[in-house]
Amino acid sequence: MALSKEELKDAIEEKATKSPKPQLYIKDFYKCDPDSKPRVIKNVANEMVRDGRLMFWSSGSTTMYAIPGRIQNEEGA
C-alpha cells in the first residue's frame, strides 16, 4: 500500500539526509515508496521544496534535490 503524503515526505527527507550523495535525482526518491506513482513522488518532492524541506540544484540541463545546508552555495565559495 502506498505511503500517505506525510509518510512519503518523511521518507524522502530521511533518504536525502542519509544518502552519501548530497544531491539526488528525482528517481532516487522513487525507492522511498515503490507503491507510489512517479508523478505522486514528484509532486510531493516539489511541495517539500516550497515548504523549505528540500531545495533544487540545477546544472541548467538537469535538476536535482538536496537538503538545505547539505550542498555548497557557490556564492562566496
Binding site: N46, R50, F56, G60, S61, T62, T63, N73, E75
Partner: protein, 426 residues
C-alpha cells in the same frame, strides 16, 4: 577603456564577419561587468580551461526552472562576473514581437542584468545572459507584473514549447500550431516551471513537413503537420509554371539566372519516391507513394497545395548530440487530428502515456529517445498501445528470429512433451 588586455580575443575582430568581441566591448561601455567577460574568456583561451562553474541553487520563489546559475571561479580577479546567471524568458508564440515589447524587455534587462542577450536559445527561449542573485526576484516581478511575460523551462522540466508561424502567415500549415502550442503551454504550467522528469523534455509544433521549428531534430515529441488525402493540383497553375509565367520557389533564388523552368528536371526528377509524371500538359501524382517531402509544393506553390484532410504526424525521441550523437525523432503516429474542439485531448493522452512510462523506465539524464533506443521500438509501441505498421520499420530485419509473446501463440507456450516427441523423435 578596456579593463583587461585581450590580444587573443582582439584577433577575432579582424575578420570580415561580425564579431561577438566587438559586441561585448560595445556593451561594456555601458555595463562595465562585461569587461570581465572578455577578461575571463581571454584567460580561458590562454590556459585552455574554463573558469565558469557549473550550475547552482539559484531560482525565483515557487519556480524550479528558468534560471541557470553561473559563477566564475576567480571572483576576486573578475568581480563583474562573480555571479553571471542566465535567465530564460518564454518567447511569444511564433516569435512575434512588437518593437515596444522588445524595447521594454531590453530596458528591463539593462536595469537588472548585463544587457547581453541570445535571441534565441535552441529551445526557442529568449536568453538573458548575466545577472546577480539579488537581481533575480526584482527582475521576475517586473517581467511578470509589468510585461505579462513568464520564465521558460530549464533543468529536468518540460521546456518552453515552440511553434512555427502556422496558420497566422503560412498557407501550408495543416493545423493551428499557435493554438496547439499555447494550449499545451497553459495546460502544462506545472511541468514547465517545476522539475518532473528524469531529464529535459521538449515539444515542438510545425505546421507542415517543411518543419520550420526543426521539431524532428530537436524535440522529444514532434508534432508535424501533414495531410492524408491527395495534394491539391491546380492544372492551370502548372501550365503557368511550365510557360515560365510564375517564378519557381515563390521567387526565391532569383538573384541568379537559372535558365527557363524545367518541370521534369526541377520537380518530377527530384521527387524522392518518383511518384509524379506528366500526361500531356497535366501533372499527375500517385499520392499513395508520396512521402510528404514538400519539394514539389515548395517549387510550385501557386499550383500545388497540401491536401484538405489535414492533421499531424507525431514523431518521438529527437535530441541534439550529447552523449550518443544527434538523433531524429521516430515516426510513431502517422496521422492524428489536431483540434482545439476537443482541447487537443488525443495529443495530451499520447504525451502523458509517454511520460508515465518514461518517468518510471527512463534512467537519470536519459532523453526519451535514448530510452526508446535502449528498450527497442517494439517495446515502446507496445507501451503506447500502438499496432506496428510498415512505416515504423526503418529497414528489413537482419536476423531470422521472431520473438513471439505467449498470447500470440495458439495454445500458449505450454506443450505436452510426450505428445510432441511422438511426432518429433529426439
Amino acid at each position: 577603456m578596456a579593463k583587461h588586455e585581450t590580444p587573443l580575443l582582439d584577433q577575432l575582430e579582424s575578420g570580415p564577419w561580425p564579431s561577438f568581441v566587438t559586441d561585448i566591448k560595445r556593451q561594456a561601455e555601458k555595463k562595465p561587468e562585461c569587461w570581465d567577460i572578455l577578461g575571463v574568456l581571454e584567460l580561458s583561451y590562454k590556459e585552455r580551461i574554463t573558469h565558469w562553474k557549473h550550475g547552482g541553487i539559484v531560482g525565483v520563489f515557487g519556480y524550479g526552472g528558468g534560471i541557470v546559475g553561473r559563477y566564475v571561479d576567480l571572483p576576486k580577479r573578475f568581480p563583474g562576473v562573480e555571479h553571471f546567471h542566465t535567465i530564460r524568458v518564454a518567447q511569444p508564440a511564433s516569435k512575434y514581437y512588437s518593437t515596444a515589447n522588445l524595447r521594454q524587455l531590453m530596458d528591463l534587462w539593462e536595469k537588472h542584468g548585463s544587457g547581453m542577450t541570445n535571441f534565441h536559445g535552441s529551445t526557442g527561449d529568449i536568453i538573458l545572459l548575466g545577472t546577480r542573485t539579488e537581481n533575480l526576484e526584482p527582475f521576475f516581478w517586473d517581467l511578470t507584473h509589468d510585461m505579462g511575460q513568464d520564465l521558460g523551462g530549464s533543468g529536468s522540466n518540460l521546456r518552453t514549447p515552440a511553434n512555427c508561424v502556422g496558420q497566422s502567415r503560412c498557407e501550408w500549415s495543416c493545423y493551428d500550431t499557435e493554438e496547439a502550442c499555447h494550449h499545451l503551454t497553459m495546460h502544462y504550467q506545472d511541468e514547465i516551471h517545476r522539475p518532473a522528469f528524469p531529464y529535459k523534455f521538449k515539444f515542438k509544433f510545425s505546421g507542415c513537413p517543411n518543419d520550420c521549428v526543426a521539431a524532428i531534430a530537436r524535440s522529444d515529441v514532434s508534432v508535424i503537420g501533414t495531410w492524408r488525402d491527395d495534394i491539391r493540383i491546380d492544372q492551370a497553375g502548372v501550365k503557368e509554371y511550365v510557360a515560365g509565367n510564375y517564378p519557381a520557389n515563390g521567387g526565391a533564388h532569383s538573384g541568379k539566372d537559372w535558365g527557363p523552368f524545367d518541370i521534369q528536371k526541377e520537380v518530377i526528377g527530384l521527387c524522392p519516391t518518383e511518384c509524379m509524371w506528366m500526361e500531356g500538359d497535366e501533372l499527375k501524382i500517385d499520392d499513395k507513394e508520396c512521402t510528404r517531402c514538400m519539394h514539389c509544393i515548395n517549387v510550385m506553390p501557386r499550383a500545388l497545395r497540401p491536401g484538405a484532410d489535414q492533421g499531424a504526424t507525431i514523431c518521438v525521441g529527437a535530441k541534439a548530440p550529447i552523449l550518443d550523437g544527434a538523433q531524429f525523432s521516430t515516426l510513431i503516429v502517422p496521422f492524428m487530428k489536431i483540434s482545439k474542439d476537443n482541447d487537443f485531448e488525443e495529443l495530451i493522452d499520447f504525451i502523458e502515456t509517454i511520460w508515465d512510462w518514461w518517468m518510471e523506465v527512463g534512467k537519470n539524464r536519459e532523453r526519451v529517445g535514448e530510452t526508446m533506443q535502449r528498450v527497442g521500438l517494439p517495446t515502446f509501441l507496445s507501451v503506447m498501445g500502438i499496432e506496428p505498421i510498415p512505416q515504423h520499420i526503418r529497414e528489413p530485419r537482419s536476423n531470422p528470429y521472431i520473438f513471439w509473446k505467449e498470447e500470440e501463440v495458439e495454445g500458449g507456450f505450454e506443450r505436452d512433451i510426450i505428445e510432441f516427441r511422438k511426432r518429433h523423435a529426439a
